[in-house]
């Protein structure tokens, strides 16, 4: 058994060196060569698989077209931010074979991956479809204030929204101040989750209490964070007794929140995707009377991306997939409310007039928020350290401390 182990190790090391050499070359190939290199290969894509609508789009629309147009077999598997970082670190340490070719990431994950040098690249600027990107948008071209520099390719964009029930809540609050008043008047009917979306809520609150997101631009500043977060946690402590379960327990993730909301335990849920309410009603997770709502103080808008890990076995295939995802057809299909409702990262002005009309004529679903209103309240993400510290401090100061 020891001999087998050694043999495996040796072969893995040799393969590693060979693959690294190859990967470097791939980044410099002309596009046609990349496509032919990828033909007939399999691409393993680690992405969040918790939403059947997203899965249906990827498995039933994207995958067959990749097969017929490029001969690529797409295999989407479950994996989210922290797991992906963790996996890559462990794989590097054990000098193991890479498993994922493409990963769906943004924000903190991108930051952590770059910091630990776990991504392969730069490659994204070589994609032909990248020419149509909305390059003037800071939301698309900067991931939580970090420049992309070709290390990840944009895929879609979303905006944070609250979700409420039009029958149960006839006069929903429209600002954080109004929300505070609403919570006090309706004790036990509001909460936020412990993960990504909940932290987004806290971040939006932080912007609002400190006079706007502009104050936070330009990198992480400790002093600013300390004063701003103190205000956030002060606000929380004020309303905490009126939270669901008196602020002692919090739903783990946004899915649990949807469940609570749909079953009349709380009156608000949240989502990072303003169109999620549409797909969730269709999936039977939320009741048909649900509706999206943006806070007038500003809601976070951000984009999500795809990256290629440092040890991806098939980077060429991954590049072709990323390029396909940026194609106008794929972006349009994704934008349709009946499919996913995920915003496009393309600049409609850069498309042909026929395509442009299609994009613009895509009417928003009545349950969602009209795009104009969305754009008016959109606020960009800032340096990821703010969120990371907010999340850690929330766990320490709020979750761990009994009221």
């Amino acid at each position: 058994m020891a001999i087998v182990g050694c043999a495996l190790l040796l072969s893995a090391c040799n393969k590693d060196r060979a693959e690294n050499g190859n990967r470097g070359a791939i980044a410099r190939l002309p596009w046609a060569d990349v496509v032919s290199l990828a033909r007939g290969s399999t691409v393993t894509w680690r992405m969040w698989r918790g939403d059947p609508s997203v899965n249906a789009y990827v498995d039933c629309w994207v995958a067959p077209r990749l097969m017929s147009d490029y001969g690529i077999s797409l295999r989407a598997v479950e994996g989210q931010g922290p797991e992906i970082v963790n996996q890559l670190v462990v794989e590097r340490q054990a000098r193991a074979r890479g498993v994922a070719d493409l990963v769906w990431i943004n924000g903190e994950t991108f930051h952590n991956l770059r910091a630990a040098d776990l991504l392969w690249g730069p490659w994204a600027s070589r994609l032909p479809n990248a020419a149509a990107l909305d390059s003037s948008s800071s939301i698309v071209m900067r991931d939580f204030e970090q420049p992309l520099d070709g290390w990840e390719s944009p895929w879609g964009r979303v905006q944070f929204a609250l979700i409420y029930d039009t029958v149960r809540t006839r006069h929903p609050p429209h600002s954080f101040a109004e929300l505070k008043g609403w919570i006090t008047k309706h004790p036990g009917r509001f909460t936020h989750d412990q993960q990504f979306t909940g932290v987004a809520f806290l971040t939006g609150l932080m912007y609002s209490l400190s006079g706007g997101a502009e104050k936070f631009e330009g990198g992480f500043r400790r002093a600013l964070y300390d004063t701003a977060s103190a205000r956030v946690f002060g606000w929380i402590e004020d309303v905490r007794p009126d939270f669901w379960r008196s602020g002692r327990d919090y739903p783990l993730g946004v899915a649990e929140m949807h469940r609570l909301f749909a079953n009349d335990e709380i009156d608000f849920t949240m989502s990072y995707n303003q169109n999620e309410v549409v797909t969730k009603i269709r999936q039977g997770v939320l009741q048909p009377t649900a509706h999206a709502l943006v806070i007038a103080d500003g809601t976070l808008a951000n984009a999500h991306y795809v990256g290629i890990p440092f040890n991806a076995p098939n980077p060429a295939g991954a590049m072709v997939v990323a390029n396909f995802l940026l194609s106008p057809e794929a972006q349009y299909e994704k934008l349709r409310p009946e499919v996913w409702g995920d915003g496009t990262v393309l600049d409609a002005a850069k498309l042909t007039s026929a395509l442009r009309t299609r994009f613009e004529s895509l009417a928003a679903d009545p349950h969602a928020v009209p795009p104009a209103e969305l754009a008016r309240h959109a606020v960009p993400e800032v340096a990821p350290q703010y969120r990371e510290h907010l999340a850690a401090d929330w766990k320490r100061l709020v979750r761990e401390r009994a009221p």
């Binding site: 495996l8 994996g79 949807h258």
Partner: protein, 247 residues
């Protein structure tokens, strides 16, 4: 009632739509969630993977457990208890901690995120169960049959193949079932060693539940339960023998 209620709830949830508080029954019934079995290839794929993993684990565990249990039973009594205790180690080890400890080795061998790696991890646990089982089986096995065959001139290998194995056909089937179930229901090991690339039916139940997709989680849960119940029924009354091994 106690036994049936949880299963019935899952059945309702998988066939129902619009089942929100305070409704006792879903607003209307539909097979949409079950339709996902065909539509969303994820469910189907996880089912196939689970079946395959469980079959392989059952096979490996029953064969190895048989052989190891047989040899252990030839050890003199005091040391035999040491062996029995040692066999329990993989049974008692919490799968999560076990996965954390072994992940490095699996990755080093290049098996991370592969079916083989997950199968090996499942087998580590399953072999513990089947070894314990067979130690119990061979403890009450009357050796004289083997001895007679040997005295008639049969080699050890022939004795094994022609005498011992056939006598233990049912036990092998039960051990196979044991290994099968251990793999079938396993969650943490699949999560840690499979790294999302290997998704079993059991991990998909958790995944759907965490994503708030209760209908699909129930479909997956029922798919996970029914074969287990059926298999138990088939090998049913002999399960008592399993208990004897631990008692």
């Amino acid at each position: 009632m106690w036994t049936a209620l949880p299963i019935s709830v899952l059945v309702f949830s998988s066939f129902g739509e619009g089942w929100f508080y305070p409704r006792l029954l879903p607003t209307h019934w539909s097979t949409a969630a079950w339709g996902e079995l065909v539509g969303d290839r994820r469910l189907l794929r996880s089912l196939v993977i689970s079946v395959w993993l469980a079959l392989l684990t059952g096979g490996a565990a029953s064969i190895l457990g048989f052989e190891i249990g047989r040899r252990v039973s030839r050890i003199a009594v005091p040391l035999r208890y040491f062996a029995l205790t040692a066999a329990f180690i993989p049974v008692a080890a919490p799968p999560l901690a076990l996965g954390i400890g072994l992940q490095y080795f699996v990755l080093r061998a290049g098996l991370g995120g592969t079916l083989t790696g997950v199968w090996l991890a499942h087998s580590v646990v399953a072999i513990g169960y089947t070894t314990v089982y067979f130690i119990g089986v061979f403890a009450v096995f009357d050796r004289r049959v083997e001895e007679e065959a040997r005295s008639l001139g049969a080699s050890p290998l022939v004795t094994l193949a022609r005498v011992t194995l056939p006598l233990h056909r049912r036990q092998l089937a039960e051990a196979f079932l044991l290994g099968f179930l251990v793999s079938w229901a396993q969650v943490p090991l699949t999560l840690l060693i499979g790294q999302g690339a290997v998704e079993s039916l059991a991990t998909s139940v958790m995944s759907y539940a965490h994503a708030g997709q209760d209908h699909l989680a129930s479909v997956a849960g029922l798919l996970l339960t029914l074969p287990a119940l059926v298999l138990m029924g088939l090998v049913g009354s002999s399960i008592r023998r399993l208990a004897v091994a631990t008692v």
